[in-house]
C-alpha cells in the first residue's frame, strides 16, 4: 500500500495531476472525516478537506517520503481545522448545547442496554450527540481522540500526525477519555 502511494507521489511531483486524483480517491473520506469531526459542520468540513488536498498538492515537494504520506496529509487537515476553530465565534458551542437534553435520554437508554455491539445501528440522535460531545473537548484532545477512535490510528501514527511524542499522545487521549466520560456519565 505504502509502496503504491510512494509511486503515485513520484508522478505527482513530476506534475501529473491525474496521479494526484488517485491520492484523492484513496484519502478523501478520511480527510473529510477528520475535518468534520474537528469542526462539526459538513459544509466547513468539505471546504477544509478541499483546502487540505490543495495544500498537499502545492507543497508536495516538502513532503518527506521516509514518513507515511497519510500522516502528513492528516496533519495538514488537522492544522487547518484547528486554525478554523480559532477564527470562529465563541458562541458556537452554545448552539450545540441545546440538544443536550435529548442526549440525556439516549445515554440512559444506552446504560440499560449495556455495551454497544459493534454492528449495532446507532440512531441519528445519538450520532449527533456523539459529535456534540466530541466538540466539547479542547481541540488538542479532540484531535487525539478522533485519530485514535474514529480513524483507528496507532499511538505512534497519531504522534506523527500531530507532531508530538508518543507520551504526549497518551496524555491527550487519557484526558480526552476522562473528559468524555464525565460528560457521558449522567445516568
Amino acid at each position: 500500500m505504502e509502496d503504491l502511494v510512494q509511486r503515485v507521489i513520484k508522478r505527482v511531483r513530476k506534475g501529473d495531476q491525474q496521479a494526484f486524483g488517485e491520492l484523492i480517491d484513496l484519502y478523501q473520506h478520511k480527510v473529510y472525516q477528520i475535518c468534520f469531526r474537528m469542526v462539526g459542520n459538513r459544509q466547513e468540513a468539505e471546504d477544509l478537506g478541499q483546502e487540505a488536498f490543495l495544500r498537499a498538492y502545492l507543497n508536495i515537494d516538502s513532503y518527506d517520503s521516509s514518513k507515511k504520506f497519510s500522516s502528513w496529509l492528516f496533519r495538514i487537515a488537522t492544522n487547518l481545522s484547528i486554525d478554523r476553530l480559532r477564527k470562529k465565534k465563541p458562541d458556537y458551542h452554545l448552539d450545540a448545547e441545546i440538544a443536550g437534553s435529548e442526549g440525556l435520554t439516549m445515554y440512559s437508554r444506552l446504560a440499560a442496554d449495556g455495551d454497544l455491539p459493534e454492528d449495532q445501528v446507532v440512531s441519528l440522535e445519538l450520532q449527533e450527540t456523539i459529535q456534540e460531545e466530541i466538540m466539547q473537548l479542547p481541540p488538542k484532545y479532540r484531535s487525539a481522540i478522533i485519530m485514535k477512535y474514529i480513524e483507528d490510528l496507532s499511538l505512534k501514527e497519531i504522534g506523527e500526525v500531530l507532531n508530538i511524542p508518543v507520551p504526549t499522545v497518551k496524555t491527550r487521549i487519557h484526558r480526552g477519555r476522562e473528559a468524555l466520560r464525565k460528560r457521558l456519565r449522567h445516568v
Partner: protein
C-alpha cells in the same frame, strides 16, 4: 476518585492496550474490591464504545472534482507524456507516418536515378534517360525523376516514376510499361513492391527448407 492516581494510570494503560499481564491482574484485583473504580472503568469503556460507534462520514460525491478544479493548471509536458503512455499504438503510428512522409518526399524530389536490372546500359541526359538504338536491355528498367526515350529494346518491364516514357515505335518493350506520376500511386507501387518482395523471399525460404 477515592483511589490513588496509580489506579487511573493502570486503567488507561489497559485501555491503550500496552498493559502487561501483571498490570491487568493488579487492576482486576483492585476492581473486585473497589466499587468506585469499577464504575469508573466501566464508564471509560462505555465512553470508548460510544465514540467508536460514531458513523464514518463520507466526503460528498463531487469532492474529488472540486479539488481537481482548484488545482493550478497542469504543465503541458506531463499531459502529453500521459497521452503517449495510454495510446502507444497511435503514438507509434503517428511517429511512423511523420518519418515515412518525410522520407517519401525526400526521395520523390531526389535527383534523376536509373536502375537497370539486368544487362545493358543507358545514356543519361540532364532530364532524360535514353536507351540507344543499338542497345538491348535484358531485364527491367526503372527510372526515377526523369523522362525516358526508348530507341533500343527492353526485354522486361519499364517503370517510370515521376516522368514520362517515349518510344520510337511500339513492341520494343516486351514486358509492361508503367508510368507512376502521382505520389500516392508511387506509394502504392512501393507497397506492392515490398509485398511481392516479401512473398518471393518467403517462397525462396520455403523451398530451401
Amino acid at each position: 476518585m477515592a483511589c490513588n492516581s496509580d489506579t487511573a494510570a493502570l486503567m488507561h494503560k489497559v485501555l491503550d492496550e500496552i498493559a502487561d499481564e501483571k498490570d491487568k491482574q493488579d487492576l482486576t484485583l483492585h476492581l473486585q474490591s473497589c466499587l468506585e473504580c469499577r464504575e469508573h472503568f466501566e464508564e471509560l469503556k462505555r465512553t470508548i464504545a460510544i465514540v467508536q460507534s460514531a458513523s464514518r462520514v463520507k466526503a460528498p460525491e463531487n469532492f474529488k472534482k472540486s479539488v481537481m478544479a482548484r488545482l493550478p493548471r497542469e504543465k503541458r509536458r506531463p499531459a502529453v507524456r500521459r497521452w503517449l503512455q495510454t495510446h502507444p499504438v497511435v503514438a507509434a503510428a503517428a511517429l511512423f507516418l511523420i518519418f515515412m512522409t518525410g522520407y517519401l518526399f525526400q526521395i520523390w524530389h531526389a535527383p534523376q536515378e536509373v536502375a537497370v536490372m539486368g544487362e545493358g546500359h543507358v545514356v543519361k541526359g540532364s532530364d532524360i534517360v535514353i536507351v540507344p538504338e543499338d542497345v538491348v536491355i535484358n531485364g527491367d528498367l526503372i527510372v526515377h525523376n526523369s523522362d525516358v526515350r526508348i530507341e533500343g529494346k527492353v526485354k522486361g518491364d519499364v517503370t517510370v516514376i515521376n516522368g514520362r516514357q517515349y518510344m520510337a515505335s511500339a513492341g520494343q518493350v516486351t514486358g509492361q510499361i508503367k508510368e507512376v506520376n502521382e505520389i500516392l500511386g508511387w506509394i502504392w507501387y512501393q507497397i506492392k513492391h515490398l509485398f511481392t518482395g516479401l512473398v518471393s523471399l518467403h517462397e525462396i525460404r520455403g523451398f530451401s527448407l
